[in-house]
Symmetry: C2
Subunit: 261 residues, 2 copies
């Protein structure tokens, strides 16, 4: 059930020995779901696993929007690089990095807290992603598929309006959940880069041209044909440029906010 | 082994029914480790679980620094808000959001890619955190403790120099791993906020004063005494202000970089 790139180097625990490890290794993204709804108690279990995740200072620096409104789901599908499966996914959650809740809490306690900065925002984003990944792992262990939608970072103006986001609240990621179709469960998990290109000892260094080529080729892609096509599709593409613009404006706006009176 | 805030509302799966869920719920941060070294095969298994995590476009937008140099560990302990247990932790990993590797890959393939933007940086940070959390979960399932050190965001100038970071590489988080002491395993996991303050339906809204008070009190803390002390310790503190400054400069520098010739 797990296809390691280099079995002798990458995976040393046999899946059967540890259920959790096996699940972490085998889990892959699912974008086609059965229409079966997810029972409420299963949702609550998955949420509880998110809440149980590590969180800076036990602060839970995130808010989760449970999107049930069909019109909002449809608009999200449109705004997130036109991915219709978001509109029909059985469970759609937006994870917000929330620098508002604690600010208001401090104010309510009579403090005069400093304006949140981008450092607070990054920490809150990280908190949100840690919780999100616990939920992805929990969902998989309960037979459920999931997919991250990074495109929630795009179209800032419309996303803010649609979800009535506070200026100190940032849409860190979107997750869709549902029971996978049979075809999806049979899909091969894409192989990852080998360890030697990802892990470095003590200090950062740029990879050499030879290493970059080997990294791509060893994964099974032909460097000179795959890379330019991938660049056009993932990096030079309209959605990637829109994401860059959108996030830059989020951060600019965030950094430029005046302290509220 | 799991202490839910409100057992009737939060946790519906009994731990014994699903090992993975039980582990996600019970896992707590560990800051005191036995001196026992971590066997290489265990490290490789944990890394493999990180690599297997969801990653945008299968890009693995991160680099992991395995810090073995004792002097670097000691300096990191100092620069990360003076936390000496980092220096003695058996395994110290810095997770870098890496916008350099793919840029160089595109260049090597003859492309003229756009300069990475803060949108690319945020996406890479998220990728790094998703992988990191898979490793935290894997480590726990193998009896190992871990702790996130968000303070790696501080002291930009010194961290960049110490780890020879590229301008398009950002230290997203630091994780320490090791076998927990008996006292650490007996520590009670801190209760989280109740679901109703974290999950909202369809749209964001600010919590009312009453809700903010109830959120804190229901977790077991007295609002008017706990909140001002927490604000002083976590938000108005020197380290929090340093984090805010440091990240702002990382982003400013990142956004202001000229395209390389």
């Amino acid at each position: 059930m797990y296809l390691p790139v280099k079995p002798d180097k990458v995976c040393v625990v046999q899946p059967a020995e540890n259920q959790t490890i096996a699940e972490l290794l085998e889990r892959k993204s699912v974008r086609v779901f059965e229409p079966t709804p997810i029972p409420d108690d299963v949702k609550e279990t998955i949420l509880a696993c998110g809440f149980a995740a590590p969180t800076a200072g036990n602060q839970m620096l995130y808010t989760i929007l449970d999107i049930e409104d069909e019109q909002i789901k449809a608009q999200l599908a449109d705004l997130c690089d036109d991915q219709p499966f978001i509109a029909t996914a059985p469970w759609v959650l937006v994870f917000l990095a929330d620098c508002r809740r604690w600010f208001d809490t401090y104010r309510e306690a009579g403090d005069d807290p400093r304006t949140p900065g981008v450092g607070d925002l990054v920490l809150a984003c990280e908190d949100a992603l840690i919780a999100a990944q616990n939920m992805v792992v929990a969902a998989h262990s309960l037979g459920m598929g999931s997919c991250y939608i990074g495109d929630i970072l795009e179209n800032r103006e419309k996303i803010c309006e649609l979800l009535t986001l506070d200026p100190w609240v940032f849409p860190a990621t979107l997750l869709v959940f549902g029971y996978p179709t049979v075809q999806q469960t049979r899909r091969t998990k894409p192989p990852r880069f080998a360890r030697q290109y990802i892990v470095m000892k003590d200090r950062y260094r740029r990879l050499s041209a030879e290493e970059l080529r080997a990294m791509i080729e060893e994964r099974g892609d032909q460097f000179d044909t795959f890379v330019p096509r991938f660049c056009a599709r993932k990096y030079s593409s309209t959605f990637a440029q829109e994401m860059t613009r959108s996030v830059a404006e989020y951060l600019q706006q965030f950094a430029g906010l005046e302290k509220e009176s």
